[in-house]
Symmetry: C2
Subunit: 221 residues, 2 copies
């Protein structure tokens, strides 16, 4: 940790950032924070982890400059430091996608039939939405939906999907999305919907990427 050599000091800074991203739990925290600011407590219950554990991870990420925190009454809200953090996450994901047979394997585990599991791109969805050709469902929990969602999307949390299936118009194309490209909820939703005979596909990305691309989002009152 000596600062003698400036070149080494630089690499250590860069490595510190990568190291802060080098943990599955912290990556999951990033994905949740990409939906919007959250308190330690809220994150802990989403991830089903001890609060102290989450707190420490968040502090580690703060030290590396990934997140910032702000007190709000009794709570402390963490948020992503800036868009570059999400970009870094995406870049790492891209490396993993190209290499890792494991990633492929996981995805295939969801779909026996690999045909037409291709996700819908942002651009494609945006144009279909304009034409009113598609029902967009947001499978995230209601609280995340309330903060921001795609315009016109209906909230159908995974836990309630089965019971609320009758509300969906059969035959109409359905596109499901959730937190991000590898958030498993939309995979599960599409698998479930297909099993029931719906014409369902997945949005390639999640809400954060949609927002980052400068497209409109809606918020509930």
């Amino acid at each position: 940790m000596s600062i003698s050599n400036p070149k080494q000091a630089l690499y250590e800074q860069f490595a510190a950032v990568a190291k802060a991203l080098g943990n599955p739990q912290r990556l999951e925290l990033v994905e949740h924070l990409a939906q919007g600011p959250r308190s330690v407590d809220a994150l802990a219950s989403k991830l089903c982890l001890p609060i102290a554990n989450v707190s420490q991870h968040l502090q580690a990420m703060r030290r590396a400059g990934l997140v910032t925190s702000e007190r709000d009454g009794k709570f402390i809200n963490y948020r992503l430091a800036d868009e570059s953090v999400l970009a870094a996450f995406a870049a790492i994901r891209a490396v993993a996608e190209r290499h890792s047979a494991e990633v492929e394997r996981v995805v295939r585990g969801w779909f026996d039939q690999r045909d037409n599991m291709e996700p819908v791109s942002r651009e494609e969805l945006a144009s279909r939405m304009n034409d009113g050709l598609v029902t967009v469902i947001d499978v995230r929990p209601a609280d995340e939906f309330a903060l921001a969602h795609l315009p016109g999307a209906i909230n159908l949390p995974l836990s309630e999907l089965e019971s609320r299936l009758p509300a969906l118009e059969a035959g109409r194309e359905i596109v499901a999305y959730c937190r991000g490209p590898w958030c498993v909820m939309s995979f599960e939703a599409v698998a479930e919907l297909r099993k029931r005979g719906f014409n369902a596909r997945r949005l390639e990305d999640g809400l954060p990427e949609w927002k980052a691309a400068g497209l409109d989002v809606e918020a509930s009152a």
Copy 2:
């Protein structure tokens, strides 16, 4: 390492990639490999590290899918797996640049005067080169220069810079580049040239970024 939960399995894959980048020495290896394929031995002597150490780092990176290796006679050449690795490195660098006061501090250590230390962008340099207005110097060691360099650049390794200064036309604008945006050699070169009264600036990026942008490179015979 259990594969029970697919969501967790994904995050672990992603984390593994980030972890492989989360070490200063490995990042330096990435930067060198970005110049072109190298043997373990060549990398070890560039970084001044024990060979076994470098070998292990490279194997860790190979496990994470960052590099691939190929035997060539007695040597084993490692190379970056694909461009996405360099993109991930750049993304991490970007996070560090936004946050880290330390990064700022290091850069300022080189320049007392902060004015006109702004780097030249790729686009700007490309157009000036077309107009023949600028002398481009490549301050990397001769072997790296030989593999690939900017068209028309002259090789002036940092170690020989002082002795070969007379070869430079005074008054003409000089742009120096090296391995990448934070490779310190070009910082040092510019500082030295300025001290001698030359009108010198740094290219914002290094050779790998130039190549990745699809611009032309030259190679020596």
